[in-house]
Amino acid sequence: MVTAIEVSDISKQFVLRHTRSLKEAVVWLAKGRKGDLSEKFHALKNVSVEIDAGETVALLGLNGSGKSTLLKHISGVMLPDTGTVKTRGRVAGLIEVGAGFHPDLSGRDNVFLNGAILGMTEQQINDKFDDIVEFSEIGQFIDTEVKFYSSGMYLRLAFSVAVHTDPEVFLIDEILAVGDEPFQRKCIDKIQELARDGKTLVVVSHDLDLVSRICDRGILMEHGNVKFDGPIHEAVSILRA
Protein backbone atom coordinates (compact mmCIF):
# COMPACT_ATOMS: atom_id res chain seq x y z
CA MET A 1 0.00 0.00 0.00
CA VAL A 2 0.98 3.58 -0.52
CA THR A 3 1.58 5.64 2.58
CA ALA A 4 -0.65 8.69 2.74
CA ILE A 5 0.41 10.08 6.09
CA GLU A 6 3.66 9.37 7.85
CA VAL A 7 4.10 10.75 11.34
CA SER A 8 7.48 9.83 12.78
CA ASP A 9 8.31 10.34 16.40
CA ILE A 10 6.84 13.81 16.82
CA SER A 11 6.71 15.70 20.08
CA LYS A 12 5.04 18.98 20.75
CA GLN A 13 5.40 21.10 23.81
CA PHE A 14 2.99 23.89 24.48
CA VAL A 15 4.11 26.98 26.26
CA LEU A 16 1.36 28.36 28.39
CA ARG A 17 2.53 31.89 28.36
CA HIS A 18 0.76 34.13 30.77
CA THR A 19 1.71 37.43 29.29
CA ARG A 20 1.10 39.13 25.99
CA SER A 21 2.87 42.36 26.77
CA LEU A 22 6.42 43.41 26.31
CA LYS A 23 6.36 45.29 29.60
CA GLU A 24 5.75 42.19 31.68
CA ALA A 25 8.49 40.32 29.86
CA VAL A 26 10.94 43.16 30.50
CA VAL A 27 9.95 43.36 34.17
CA TRP A 28 10.45 39.61 34.43
CA LEU A 29 13.93 39.89 32.89
CA ALA A 30 14.79 42.83 35.14
CA LYS A 31 13.85 40.84 38.22
CA GLY A 32 16.48 38.29 37.29
CA ARG A 33 14.04 35.87 35.69
CA LYS A 34 12.45 35.09 39.01
CA GLY A 35 9.47 32.84 38.87
CA ASP A 36 8.22 31.21 35.76
CA LEU A 37 6.80 33.41 33.07
CA SER A 38 5.48 30.38 31.33
CA GLU A 39 4.45 26.81 31.97
CA LYS A 40 5.07 23.96 29.59
CA PHE A 41 3.32 20.72 28.94
CA HIS A 42 3.63 17.98 26.40
CA ALA A 43 0.66 17.88 24.06
CA LEU A 44 2.27 15.11 22.01
CA LYS A 45 5.11 12.86 23.10
CA ASN A 46 7.01 10.65 20.65
CA VAL A 47 3.99 9.90 18.52
CA SER A 48 4.48 7.76 15.43
CA VAL A 49 1.62 6.86 13.15
CA GLU A 50 1.57 5.61 9.60
CA ILE A 51 -1.62 5.71 7.59
CA ASP A 52 -2.00 4.14 4.17
CA ALA A 53 -3.95 5.66 1.32
CA GLY A 54 -7.58 4.62 1.49
CA GLU A 55 -7.60 3.87 5.20
CA THR A 56 -10.31 5.22 7.46
CA VAL A 57 -8.87 6.02 10.83
CA ALA A 58 -10.52 7.34 13.98
CA LEU A 59 -8.49 9.22 16.56
CA LEU A 60 -10.04 8.46 19.92
CA GLY A 61 -9.36 9.63 23.41
CA LEU A 62 -10.62 11.79 26.21
CA ASN A 63 -10.53 15.58 26.09
CA GLY A 64 -6.98 16.90 26.09
CA SER A 65 -5.41 13.63 24.98
CA GLY A 66 -3.83 15.27 21.93
CA LYS A 67 -6.16 14.11 19.15
CA SER A 68 -6.85 17.52 17.70
CA THR A 69 -3.23 18.56 18.10
CA LEU A 70 -2.17 15.53 16.08
CA LEU A 71 -4.69 16.44 13.42
CA LYS A 72 -3.33 19.99 13.29
CA HIS A 73 0.15 18.61 12.71
CA ILE A 74 -1.08 16.51 9.82
CA SER A 75 -2.80 19.52 8.25
CA GLY A 76 0.31 21.66 8.64
CA VAL A 77 -1.29 24.26 10.88
CA MET A 78 1.23 23.30 13.56
CA LEU A 79 4.81 22.20 13.16
CA PRO A 80 6.32 19.60 15.53
CA ASP A 81 9.16 20.49 17.92
CA THR A 82 10.94 17.25 17.02
CA GLY A 83 10.18 14.51 14.53
CA THR A 84 8.66 14.80 11.09
CA VAL A 85 5.25 14.72 9.45
CA LYS A 86 4.87 13.83 5.80
CA THR A 87 1.74 13.66 3.69
CA ARG A 88 1.04 12.66 0.12
CA GLY A 89 -1.37 14.55 -2.08
CA ARG A 90 -3.62 17.37 -1.06
CA VAL A 91 -4.83 17.37 2.52
CA ALA A 92 -7.99 19.23 3.45
CA GLY A 93 -9.46 19.64 6.83
CA LEU A 94 -13.09 19.67 7.71
CA ILE A 95 -11.77 21.25 10.85
CA GLU A 96 -14.41 23.42 12.44
CA VAL A 97 -16.57 24.09 9.47
CA GLY A 98 -17.14 27.71 8.72
CA ALA A 99 -13.84 28.94 10.11
CA GLY A 100 -13.34 30.92 6.94
CA PHE A 101 -16.88 32.24 6.67
CA HIS A 102 -17.55 35.91 6.93
CA PRO A 103 -21.01 36.84 8.26
CA ASP A 104 -21.33 39.98 6.13
CA LEU A 105 -20.80 38.23 2.82
CA SER A 106 -23.47 36.40 0.89
CA GLY A 107 -23.59 32.62 0.77
CA ARG A 108 -22.26 32.73 -2.78
CA ASP A 109 -19.24 34.87 -1.84
CA ASN A 110 -18.55 32.62 1.11
CA VAL A 111 -18.58 29.50 -1.05
CA PHE A 112 -15.88 31.02 -3.22
CA LEU A 113 -13.87 32.41 -0.33
CA ASN A 114 -14.05 29.25 1.73
CA GLY A 115 -13.39 27.02 -1.26
CA ALA A 116 -10.27 29.02 -2.09
CA ILE A 117 -9.15 28.91 1.54
CA LEU A 118 -9.48 25.13 1.45
CA GLY A 119 -7.25 25.08 -1.61
CA MET A 120 -9.66 24.91 -4.55
CA THR A 121 -8.94 26.76 -7.76
CA GLU A 122 -11.37 29.19 -9.36
CA GLN A 123 -12.15 26.62 -12.05
CA GLN A 124 -12.90 23.87 -9.52
CA ILE A 125 -15.25 26.10 -7.55
CA ASN A 126 -17.08 27.20 -10.67
CA ASP A 127 -17.50 23.57 -11.74
CA LYS A 128 -18.77 22.42 -8.38
CA PHE A 129 -20.74 25.47 -7.36
CA ASP A 130 -24.13 24.01 -8.28
CA ASP A 131 -23.37 20.73 -6.53
CA ILE A 132 -22.31 22.60 -3.41
CA VAL A 133 -25.51 24.63 -3.31
CA GLU A 134 -27.66 21.61 -4.04
CA PHE A 135 -26.02 19.49 -1.36
CA SER A 136 -26.37 22.25 1.22
CA GLU A 137 -30.13 22.65 0.50
CA ILE A 138 -29.71 26.41 0.84
CA GLY A 139 -31.59 27.07 -2.38
CA GLN A 140 -32.70 30.64 -2.96
CA PHE A 141 -30.90 31.93 0.15
CA ILE A 142 -27.51 31.54 -1.52
CA ASP A 143 -27.39 35.28 -2.25
CA THR A 144 -28.40 36.28 1.29
CA GLU A 145 -25.75 37.35 3.74
CA VAL A 146 -24.87 34.40 5.93
CA LYS A 147 -25.45 36.36 9.13
CA PHE A 148 -29.14 35.94 8.44
CA TYR A 149 -28.78 32.16 8.14
CA SER A 150 -29.93 29.85 10.88
CA SER A 151 -27.06 27.99 12.52
CA GLY A 152 -28.15 24.84 10.73
CA MET A 153 -28.06 26.49 7.31
CA TYR A 154 -24.67 27.95 8.09
CA LEU A 155 -23.20 24.58 9.00
CA ARG A 156 -24.81 22.88 6.04
CA LEU A 157 -23.28 25.30 3.58
CA ALA A 158 -19.87 25.13 5.24
CA PHE A 159 -19.91 21.35 5.34
CA SER A 160 -21.03 21.24 1.74
CA VAL A 161 -18.07 23.37 0.60
CA ALA A 162 -15.67 21.25 2.61
CA VAL A 163 -16.79 17.88 1.22
CA HIS A 164 -16.58 19.20 -2.31
CA THR A 165 -12.93 20.22 -2.06
CA ASP A 166 -11.91 16.75 -3.27
CA PRO A 167 -8.50 16.24 -1.63
CA GLU A 168 -6.71 12.91 -1.25
CA VAL A 169 -6.70 13.09 2.52
CA PHE A 170 -9.64 14.29 4.59
CA LEU A 171 -9.22 15.39 8.16
CA ILE A 172 -12.48 15.59 10.06
CA ASP A 173 -12.61 17.10 13.52
CA GLU A 174 -15.81 16.76 15.49
CA ILE A 175 -18.10 18.17 12.90
CA LEU A 176 -20.38 15.27 12.24
CA ALA A 177 -23.05 16.85 14.40
CA VAL A 178 -24.17 18.95 11.49
CA GLY A 179 -27.73 20.18 11.14
CA ASP A 180 -30.83 18.11 11.68
CA GLU A 181 -31.19 14.34 11.58
CA PRO A 182 -31.79 13.94 7.83
CA PHE A 183 -28.91 16.21 6.91
CA GLN A 184 -26.63 14.48 9.37
CA ARG A 185 -27.43 11.17 7.74
CA LYS A 186 -26.68 12.72 4.36
CA CYS A 187 -23.29 13.93 5.61
CA ILE A 188 -22.40 10.53 6.96
CA ASP A 189 -23.44 8.93 3.67
CA LYS A 190 -21.22 11.42 1.86
CA ILE A 191 -18.28 10.62 4.11
CA GLN A 192 -18.80 6.90 3.58
CA GLU A 193 -18.94 7.52 -0.14
CA LEU A 194 -15.58 9.31 0.09
CA ALA A 195 -14.17 6.33 1.96
CA ARG A 196 -15.45 3.97 -0.74
CA ASP A 197 -13.79 6.17 -3.39
CA GLY A 198 -10.45 5.40 -1.79
CA LYS A 199 -9.96 8.68 0.05
CA THR A 200 -7.99 8.60 3.24
CA LEU A 201 -10.06 9.71 6.21
CA VAL A 202 -8.84 10.72 9.64
CA VAL A 203 -11.72 11.41 11.99
CA VAL A 204 -11.73 12.87 15.48
CA SER A 205 -14.99 12.32 17.30
CA HIS A 206 -16.45 11.46 20.64
CA ASP A 207 -19.38 9.74 19.01
CA LEU A 208 -18.05 6.21 19.32
CA ASP A 209 -20.98 4.48 17.60
CA LEU A 210 -20.62 6.76 14.64
CA VAL A 211 -16.88 6.33 14.20
CA SER A 212 -17.16 2.55 14.47
CA ARG A 213 -19.55 2.73 11.53
CA ILE A 214 -17.29 4.90 9.39
CA CYS A 215 -13.79 3.81 10.33
CA ASP A 216 -11.89 0.53 10.23
CA ARG A 217 -8.96 1.49 12.36
CA GLY A 218 -8.84 3.23 15.71
CA ILE A 219 -5.95 5.04 17.31
CA LEU A 220 -6.47 5.64 21.01
CA MET A 221 -4.57 8.58 22.48
CA GLU A 222 -3.87 9.28 26.11
CA HIS A 223 -1.84 12.19 27.53
CA GLY A 224 -0.15 12.81 24.22
CA ASN A 225 0.81 9.19 23.64
CA VAL A 226 -0.60 6.50 21.40
CA LYS A 227 -2.10 3.96 23.79
CA PHE A 228 -3.59 1.60 21.26
CA ASP A 229 -3.55 1.28 17.50
CA GLY A 230 -5.64 -1.40 15.83
CA PRO A 231 -9.13 -2.40 14.74
CA ILE A 232 -11.78 0.15 15.62
CA HIS A 233 -13.91 -2.18 17.74
CA GLU A 234 -11.04 -3.04 20.03
CA ALA A 235 -10.08 0.62 20.36
CA VAL A 236 -13.65 1.54 21.25
CA SER A 237 -13.96 -1.23 23.80
CA ILE A 238 -10.69 -0.21 25.48
CA LEU A 239 -11.89 3.38 25.68
CA ARG A 240 -15.24 2.30 27.08
CA ALA A 241 -13.68 -0.05 29.63
Binding site: R20, S21, S75, V85, R88, G89, I117
Partner: protein, 293 residues
Protein backbone atom coordinates in the same frame (compact mmCIF):
# COMPACT_ATOMS: atom_id res chain seq x y z
CA UNK B 1 -5.51 6.59 -7.45
CA UNK B 2 -2.74 7.20 -9.95
CA UNK B 3 -2.57 10.78 -8.74
CA UNK B 4 -1.88 9.60 -5.23
CA UNK B 5 0.90 7.22 -6.10
CA UNK B 6 2.74 9.60 -8.39
CA UNK B 7 2.88 12.50 -5.96
CA UNK B 8 5.63 12.73 -3.41
CA UNK B 9 5.47 12.65 0.34
CA UNK B 10 5.76 16.24 1.46
CA UNK B 11 5.98 18.03 4.75
CA UNK B 12 2.83 20.01 5.40
CA UNK B 13 2.97 23.50 6.85
CA UNK B 14 6.22 24.61 5.26
CA UNK B 15 5.33 27.41 2.90
CA UNK B 16 7.51 28.97 0.27
CA UNK B 17 7.03 32.46 1.67
CA UNK B 18 5.95 35.21 -0.69
CA UNK B 19 6.55 32.90 -3.63
CA UNK B 20 3.44 30.94 -2.62
CA UNK B 21 1.31 33.95 -3.41
CA UNK B 22 1.54 33.22 -7.10
CA UNK B 23 -0.34 29.96 -6.67
CA UNK B 24 -2.78 31.60 -4.28
CA UNK B 25 -3.51 34.63 -6.43
CA UNK B 26 -7.17 33.68 -6.67
CA UNK B 27 -7.49 33.50 -2.89
CA UNK B 28 -5.62 36.79 -2.59
CA UNK B 29 -8.10 38.38 -4.95
CA UNK B 30 -11.03 37.07 -2.91
CA UNK B 31 -9.50 38.25 0.36
CA UNK B 32 -9.00 41.72 -1.06
CA UNK B 33 -12.55 41.80 -2.38
CA UNK B 34 -13.86 40.64 1.00
CA UNK B 35 -12.00 43.42 2.81
CA UNK B 36 -13.33 46.02 0.41
CA UNK B 37 -16.89 44.77 0.84
CA UNK B 38 -16.71 44.43 4.59
CA UNK B 39 -14.79 47.57 5.51
CA UNK B 40 -17.59 50.09 5.44
CA UNK B 41 -20.52 47.77 5.97
CA UNK B 42 -23.46 49.40 7.62
CA UNK B 43 -22.20 52.96 7.16
CA UNK B 44 -24.16 55.55 5.23
CA UNK B 45 -21.23 57.13 3.43
CA UNK B 46 -19.60 53.77 2.71
CA UNK B 47 -16.54 53.98 0.54
CA UNK B 48 -16.83 57.78 0.58
CA UNK B 49 -15.18 57.67 4.01
CA UNK B 50 -11.96 56.88 2.21
CA UNK B 51 -12.15 60.37 0.70
CA UNK B 52 -13.82 62.32 3.46
CA UNK B 53 -11.06 61.50 5.94
CA UNK B 54 -8.09 62.56 3.78
CA UNK B 55 -10.12 65.51 2.51
CA UNK B 56 -10.68 66.87 6.00
CA UNK B 57 -7.10 66.09 6.95
CA UNK B 58 -5.94 68.06 3.93
CA UNK B 59 -8.08 71.09 4.79
CA UNK B 60 -6.89 71.12 8.41
CA UNK B 61 -3.23 70.95 7.45
CA UNK B 62 -3.64 73.43 4.64
CA UNK B 63 -5.26 76.05 6.86
CA UNK B 64 -2.94 75.49 9.83
CA UNK B 65 0.35 75.09 8.01
CA UNK B 66 -0.19 76.78 4.67
CA UNK B 67 -2.02 79.85 5.90
CA UNK B 68 -1.35 80.26 9.63
CA UNK B 69 2.28 79.10 9.63
CA UNK B 70 2.93 80.72 6.27
CA UNK B 71 4.17 77.85 4.10
CA UNK B 72 1.98 78.89 1.19
CA UNK B 73 3.46 81.43 -1.15
CA UNK B 74 1.39 84.62 -1.39
CA UNK B 75 2.09 88.27 -2.24
CA UNK B 76 2.76 88.93 1.44
CA UNK B 77 4.87 85.76 1.81
CA UNK B 78 7.16 85.38 -1.23
CA UNK B 79 9.38 82.77 0.48
CA UNK B 80 6.60 80.19 0.73
CA UNK B 81 6.02 77.21 -1.54
CA UNK B 82 4.15 77.83 -4.77
CA UNK B 83 0.99 75.73 -5.08
CA UNK B 84 1.35 74.54 -1.50
CA UNK B 85 -2.03 72.79 -1.69
CA UNK B 86 -0.77 70.46 -4.44
CA UNK B 87 2.52 70.01 -2.64
CA UNK B 88 0.74 69.04 0.55
CA UNK B 89 -1.86 66.77 -1.02
CA UNK B 90 0.61 64.81 -3.16
CA UNK B 91 2.53 63.93 0.00
CA UNK B 92 -0.58 63.21 2.05
CA UNK B 93 -2.01 60.63 -0.38
CA UNK B 94 1.23 58.66 -0.30
CA UNK B 95 1.55 58.83 3.48
CA UNK B 96 -2.09 57.79 3.84
CA UNK B 97 -1.48 54.80 1.62
CA UNK B 98 1.52 53.83 3.73
CA UNK B 99 -0.29 54.34 7.03
CA UNK B 100 -3.32 52.34 6.05
CA UNK B 101 -1.27 49.55 4.50
CA UNK B 102 1.11 49.14 7.41
CA UNK B 103 -1.50 49.70 10.11
CA UNK B 104 -3.78 47.00 8.71
CA UNK B 105 -0.98 44.61 7.75
CA UNK B 106 0.38 44.75 11.28
CA UNK B 107 -3.01 43.71 12.64
CA UNK B 108 -3.89 41.25 9.90
CA UNK B 109 -2.43 38.09 11.42
CA UNK B 110 -4.09 38.54 14.79
CA UNK B 111 -7.35 39.60 13.13
CA UNK B 112 -7.41 36.41 11.07
CA UNK B 113 -6.24 34.29 13.97
CA UNK B 114 -9.33 32.11 13.88
CA UNK B 115 -8.54 30.99 10.39
CA UNK B 116 -4.80 30.62 10.87
CA UNK B 117 -5.35 28.41 13.89
CA UNK B 118 -7.51 25.98 11.97
CA UNK B 119 -6.55 25.79 8.34
CA UNK B 120 -3.15 25.88 6.74
CA UNK B 121 -2.75 28.46 4.02
CA UNK B 122 0.12 30.77 3.09
CA UNK B 123 -0.16 33.26 5.91
CA UNK B 124 1.69 35.95 3.97
CA UNK B 125 -1.61 36.39 2.18
CA UNK B 126 -3.06 38.47 4.98
CA UNK B 127 -0.48 41.28 5.21
CA UNK B 128 -0.18 41.34 1.43
CA UNK B 129 -3.97 41.55 1.05
CA UNK B 130 -3.96 44.52 3.45
CA UNK B 131 -1.47 46.35 1.26
CA UNK B 132 -3.58 45.58 -1.82
CA UNK B 133 -6.70 46.91 -0.18
CA UNK B 134 -4.90 50.12 0.68
CA UNK B 135 -3.72 50.40 -2.91
CA UNK B 136 -7.34 50.18 -4.05
CA UNK B 137 -8.28 52.94 -1.61
CA UNK B 138 -5.29 54.95 -2.79
CA UNK B 139 -6.36 54.97 -6.40
CA UNK B 140 -9.35 57.37 -6.19
CA UNK B 141 -7.30 59.73 -4.04
CA UNK B 142 -4.79 59.69 -6.85
CA UNK B 143 -7.54 60.64 -9.26
CA UNK B 144 -8.47 63.60 -7.04
CA UNK B 145 -4.80 64.56 -6.87
CA UNK B 146 -4.44 64.46 -10.65
CA UNK B 147 -7.60 66.55 -10.96
CA UNK B 148 -6.11 69.15 -8.62
CA UNK B 149 -2.82 69.10 -10.53
CA UNK B 150 -4.57 69.68 -13.85
CA UNK B 151 -6.40 72.68 -12.40
CA UNK B 152 -3.05 74.03 -11.24
CA UNK B 153 -1.61 73.73 -14.76
CA UNK B 154 0.07 70.32 -14.63
CA UNK B 155 2.30 69.45 -17.59
CA UNK B 156 4.36 66.40 -16.67
CA UNK B 157 6.94 64.71 -18.87
CA UNK B 158 7.31 60.90 -19.03
CA UNK B 159 10.22 60.90 -16.58
CA UNK B 160 8.07 62.64 -14.01
CA UNK B 161 5.27 60.10 -14.44
CA UNK B 162 7.83 57.34 -14.01
CA UNK B 163 8.95 59.01 -10.79
CA UNK B 164 5.39 58.64 -9.43
CA UNK B 165 5.39 54.93 -10.22
CA UNK B 166 8.80 54.49 -8.59
CA UNK B 167 7.70 56.38 -5.49
CA UNK B 168 4.62 54.22 -5.15
CA UNK B 169 6.55 50.97 -5.64
CA UNK B 170 9.14 51.95 -3.02
CA UNK B 171 6.47 52.76 -0.44
CA UNK B 172 4.42 49.63 -1.25
CA UNK B 173 7.47 47.37 -0.84
CA UNK B 174 8.34 49.08 2.41
CA UNK B 175 4.80 48.72 3.76
CA UNK B 176 4.74 45.03 2.83
CA UNK B 177 8.09 44.37 4.49
CA UNK B 178 7.24 46.21 7.68
CA UNK B 179 3.76 44.66 7.62
CA UNK B 180 5.24 41.16 7.59
CA UNK B 181 7.65 42.11 10.36
CA UNK B 182 5.17 43.76 12.71
CA UNK B 183 2.29 41.47 11.76
CA UNK B 184 4.21 38.39 12.87
CA UNK B 185 5.66 40.11 15.94
CA UNK B 186 2.15 41.15 16.93
CA UNK B 187 1.21 37.50 17.46
CA UNK B 188 3.72 37.28 20.28
CA UNK B 189 3.52 40.79 21.64
CA UNK B 190 0.44 42.88 21.10
CA UNK B 191 2.60 45.93 21.79
CA UNK B 192 3.60 45.67 18.17
CA UNK B 193 0.45 47.33 16.84
CA UNK B 194 0.85 50.27 19.22
CA UNK B 195 4.45 50.60 18.16
CA UNK B 196 3.24 50.76 14.57
CA UNK B 197 0.76 53.52 15.39
CA UNK B 198 3.58 55.53 16.89
CA UNK B 199 5.89 54.87 13.95
CA UNK B 200 3.20 56.04 11.55
CA UNK B 201 2.88 59.30 13.42
CA UNK B 202 6.64 59.78 13.18
CA UNK B 203 6.66 58.79 9.51
CA UNK B 204 4.22 61.59 8.67
CA UNK B 205 6.53 64.19 10.13
CA UNK B 206 9.88 62.61 9.26
CA UNK B 207 9.24 63.16 5.56
CA UNK B 208 8.78 66.44 3.72
CA UNK B 209 5.01 66.15 3.51
CA UNK B 210 4.06 69.37 5.29
CA UNK B 211 7.27 71.33 4.83
CA UNK B 212 10.03 71.65 2.21
CA UNK B 213 13.11 69.42 2.25
CA UNK B 214 15.34 72.48 2.02
CA UNK B 215 14.28 73.57 5.51
CA UNK B 216 15.62 70.26 6.85
CA UNK B 217 18.92 70.64 5.04
CA UNK B 218 19.43 74.13 6.50
CA UNK B 219 18.91 72.93 10.06
CA UNK B 220 20.57 69.51 9.94
CA UNK B 221 23.69 69.99 7.89
CA UNK B 222 24.88 67.62 5.18
CA UNK B 223 25.63 64.45 7.15
CA UNK B 224 22.41 64.34 9.15
CA UNK B 225 20.46 65.33 6.05
CA UNK B 226 21.84 62.26 4.25
CA UNK B 227 20.35 60.08 7.01
CA UNK B 228 17.03 61.92 6.67
CA UNK B 229 17.17 61.40 2.92
CA UNK B 230 17.82 57.66 3.16
CA UNK B 231 14.31 57.07 4.52
CA UNK B 232 12.40 55.37 1.68
CA UNK B 233 9.23 57.28 2.58
CA UNK B 234 11.09 60.58 2.21
CA UNK B 235 12.32 59.45 -1.18
CA UNK B 236 8.82 58.32 -2.16
CA UNK B 237 7.31 61.65 -1.13
CA UNK B 238 9.98 63.61 -2.99
CA UNK B 239 9.38 61.51 -6.11
CA UNK B 240 5.67 62.30 -5.80
CA UNK B 241 6.47 65.99 -5.45
CA UNK B 242 8.62 65.75 -8.54
CA UNK B 243 5.81 64.02 -10.45
CA UNK B 244 2.78 66.01 -9.33
CA UNK B 245 3.79 69.27 -7.74
CA UNK B 246 6.91 70.29 -9.64
CA UNK B 247 5.21 70.28 -13.09
CA UNK B 248 2.57 72.70 -11.77
CA UNK B 249 5.18 75.31 -10.77
CA UNK B 250 7.34 77.55 -12.93
CA UNK B 251 10.20 75.10 -12.41
CA UNK B 252 12.28 77.42 -10.28
CA UNK B 253 11.85 75.36 -7.12
CA UNK B 254 14.86 73.23 -6.25
CA UNK B 255 14.42 69.45 -6.06
CA UNK B 256 16.70 67.48 -3.75
CA UNK B 257 20.09 66.89 -5.40
CA UNK B 258 20.76 63.46 -6.94
CA UNK B 259 17.14 62.38 -6.54
CA UNK B 260 17.34 60.01 -9.49
CA UNK B 261 20.98 59.06 -9.64
CA UNK B 262 21.37 58.31 -5.94
CA UNK B 263 18.24 58.44 -3.80
CA UNK B 264 15.83 56.50 -5.96
CA UNK B 265 18.13 53.43 -6.03
CA UNK B 266 18.83 53.89 -2.32
CA UNK B 267 15.10 53.94 -1.58
CA UNK B 268 14.51 50.82 -3.64
CA UNK B 269 17.39 48.96 -2.02
CA UNK B 270 16.34 49.91 1.51
CA UNK B 271 12.74 48.89 0.80
CA UNK B 272 13.81 45.54 -0.69
CA UNK B 273 16.16 44.85 2.23
CA UNK B 274 13.33 45.54 4.67
CA UNK B 275 11.03 43.31 2.64
CA UNK B 276 13.55 40.46 2.83
CA UNK B 277 14.04 41.06 6.54
CA UNK B 278 10.29 41.07 7.08
CA UNK B 279 9.89 37.87 5.11
CA UNK B 280 12.73 36.22 7.05
CA UNK B 281 11.26 37.19 10.42
CA UNK B 282 7.81 36.13 9.34
CA UNK B 283 9.00 32.69 8.32
CA UNK B 284 10.92 32.28 11.54
CA UNK B 285 7.87 33.14 13.59
CA UNK B 286 5.00 31.63 11.59
CA UNK B 287 5.68 28.05 12.71
CA UNK B 288 4.23 28.88 16.10
CA UNK B 289 1.37 31.14 15.04
CA UNK B 290 -1.26 28.45 15.56
CA UNK B 291 -0.40 27.87 19.19
CA UNK B 292 0.29 31.49 20.12
CA UNK B 293 -2.83 33.08 18.70
Amino acid sequence: MSVISTSELTTPGLGGGLRDLKQSSFLLKLLVRKELKVRYRGSVLGLLWSYVKPGVQFIVFYVALGIFLGLERSPKNPDGLANYAVYLFSGIVLINFFSEALGNAARSIVMNGNLIKKIYLPRELFPVASVWVSAVHFFPQLVVLVGGCVLAGWHPNPLQLLAAVAGFVIVALLATGLGLLFGSANVYFRDSENLVDMLLMIATWASPVMYAWSMVEQKLGTAAFAVYQANPITIGVELFHYAFWFPTTDGSAAMPPNLFSLWLPVGLVVAVVILLLGQYTFRRLEGRFAQEL
